[in-house]
């Protein structure tokens, strides 16, 4: 049977990693508090290696230690989530193995001691299937928490391995979030706005529609990164959230692939755009070609 190593940095949401590792013997290497290791142990992995309480050391400082463990084990496949510290662990593991590292997989299989992976490339404009003769590292959106088995007997044993983090980094201060981050991945309905909205005050139009629909508000990249009208957790796109709501309403978003990739899994796509030639009009279930300043209030009224 093939072997997979799951790298986990302080967050036990590894549903996607487990599904990609299905059929192989799985070992999770966990950095971060023991509680995370315990949640991971109850998620259905076969073994857990825990590197001890991190104290004021950032989890990234354990990358060299994790790379040592993975390099010695030489599993067929290494999986990690796209969260920041997890990516650092994945990079270190890849270098230790001399392995390539991939993102945005749609299918991964261990074949004849190598790995065959199909993945979205160049922001999702095409799919590519690659083969590597040896191990490969795959970084993917971690997904949600795995419902743990009720009986503790089902949990994997946690082996604590004393690991020395790189000694040059310390956390001086952590300022917690002053607001709750939204998880757009869980939203059933989303109203997303783009550059077609002319001023920040006009976002009220979209907010009213979102409230009426019971939808979360989201945006295309320029509104989060250039204009700063939204926080980064509300940005849908290739380097932002990848969402799968039943209903996705895109207001004033032209439909560049960097945005649409993030909403590709949506059930029904509604687009409101003044430009009938905008790419999103062709990729929508319903495209209203008209001025969103007229159409959106009318739509809110009609609901």
């Amino acid at each position: 049977m093939s072997t997979s190593y799951l790298l986990v940095a302080g967050d036990a949401r590894i549903e996607t990693l487990l599904s990609l590792a299905a059929g192989s013997t799985t070992t999770a290497v966990v950095v971060g508090p023991r509680a995370v290791a315990e949640t991971v142990a109850a998620s259905g992995v076969d073994a857990v290696t825990w590197l001890g309480e991190p104290g004021d050391t950032p989890l990234e400082a354990y990358a060299v230690a994790v790379a040592g463990i993975v390099g010695a084990a030489r599993p067929d496949l290494v999986l990690a989530s796209t969260r920041p510290a997890d990516r650092v662990l994945a990079g270190a593991a890849a270098v230790a193995l001399g392995a390539p590292a991939f993102t945005m997989p749609t299918a991964v299989a261990v074949v004849d001691g190598g790995v065959e992976i199909t993945r979205s490339v160049f922001g999702g404009i095409a799919l590519e299937t690659d083969r590597v003769a040896g191990p490969a590292v795959v970084v993917v959106d971690g997904g949600g928490l795995v419902a743990s088995a009720d009986d503790a007997a089902g949990a994997a044993e946690i082996a604590e391995v004393a690991a020395a983090p790189v000694g040059t980094l310390t956390v001086v201060e952590t300022r917690p979030a002053t607001r709750a981050e939204v998880d757009l991945g869980k939203a059933g309905r989303i109203v997303a706005v783009g550059r077609g909205v002319k001023s920040q005050d006009d976002l009220a139009l979209a907010e009213a529609l979102a409230t009426k629909l019971g939808a979360e508000l989201a945006c295309s990249r320029p509104l989060a990164e250039g204009l700063g009208w939204f926080t980064h957790d509300r940005y849908v796109g290739v380097t932002g959230a990848h969402v799968a709501p039943e209903l996705y309403v895109a207001l004033g978003i032209s439909g560049q692939l960097q945005h649409t990739v993030g909403a590709r899994a949506a059930g029904t796509v509604v687009v409101v755009n003044t430009d009938g030639n905008a790419p999103y009009v062709r990729e929508a279930d319903y495209a209203v070609v008209g001025d969103l300043y007229d159409v959106v209030p009318a739509l809110t009224e009609a609901l």
Binding site: V64, D130, G134, V289
Partner: protein
């Protein structure tokens, strides 16, 4: 003390064409400085000015990385000089090979306090090169960095962290990936563009041994992206109320509202 910024000269996939078999053709997409790299350069410029360090850009890629156009575009952003490996064997290289070649260039520089990178590249967008580069160098890596100050061996780094932020202290060299909105990069003026012509770009030959340390990736096949079939109903919105009524009726029929 040197502050290094790793940058990429790459085309935007938005300008590429995709064949019905999923082959991606970049021949009509013009390469440029990758979209988030100006943020890293600006962050590096401010740190270099505050600490009296030299700001060195490093890049690897195909021959065009050393083109006059690339040199001018990059150096006018505020780098003191650049060192590149421009070899067509690196054109379109994956994240692991790119990082291995970048590490060779960085190892050729002495007294490096920090390597800065952008959040992700415009073409591959994997957000992995900074972490792979750090591992190649044996340094730690931090991402989503919003501010950095201090000098070699005594750096204060601030980063976005779980919706809040975190301040860290680094007593050794480190690779830092800048958050997309860490700073607003300056727009090069005529003076910057003229000054760029006087700044040097050195070339380092590709180290085949270092490149060979990463397992080869064989492309088995390509395919167009799997898209859901969409209805493609276009509603005339010139009469907003009528369009809204039609849309609401359709969404109700589909049981979406």
């Amino acid at each position: 003390m040197k502050i290094v910024v790793a940058y990429k000269w790459a085309p935007n996939p938005q300008d590429a064409s995709v064949g019905s078999d999923g082959t991606v053709d970049f021949s009509r997409a013009k390469p440029a400085l990758s979209e988030y790299d100006p943020v890293a350069i600006e962050l590096g410029r401010r740190l270099a000015d505050a600490s009296g360090a030299e700001l060195v850009g490093v890049s690897v890629g195909g021959k065009d990385v050393a083109s006059a156009l690339a040199k001018k575009a990059v150096l006018s952003r505020g780098l003191d000089r650049a060192v590149v490996t421009a070899d067509d064997a690196l054109a379109g290289a994956d994240s692991a090979r790119t990082a291995a070649a970048l590490a060779e260039v960085v190892r050729g520089l002495d007294d490096v306090a920090v390597v800065l990178t952008g959040d992700s590249s415009v073409d591959v967008g994997a957000q992995l090169v900074p972490t792979l580069l750090a591992a190649q160098l044996g340094w730690p890596a931090l991402t989503n960095v919003t501010a950095v100050s201090g000098t070699a061996g005594d750096l204060t780094v601030e980063r976005a962290h779980e919706g809040g932020s975190q301040v860290l202290h680094a007593t050794g060299p480190v690779v830092l990936a800048a958050a997309t909105d860490a700073v607003v990069p300056r727009v090069p003026g005529m003076k910057d563009i003229l000054a760029a012509g006087k700044r040097p770009t050195d070339e380092v030959a590709l180290d085949a041994a270092a490149a060979g340390a990463v397992a080869a990736v064989e492309v088995v096949r390509t395919a167009p992206p799997e898209l859901r079939a969409r209805r493609g109903v276009v509603i005339d919105g010139s009469d907003a109320a009528a369009a809204a009524a039609q849309l609401v009726a359709a969404l109700r029929a589909d049981a979406r509202i």
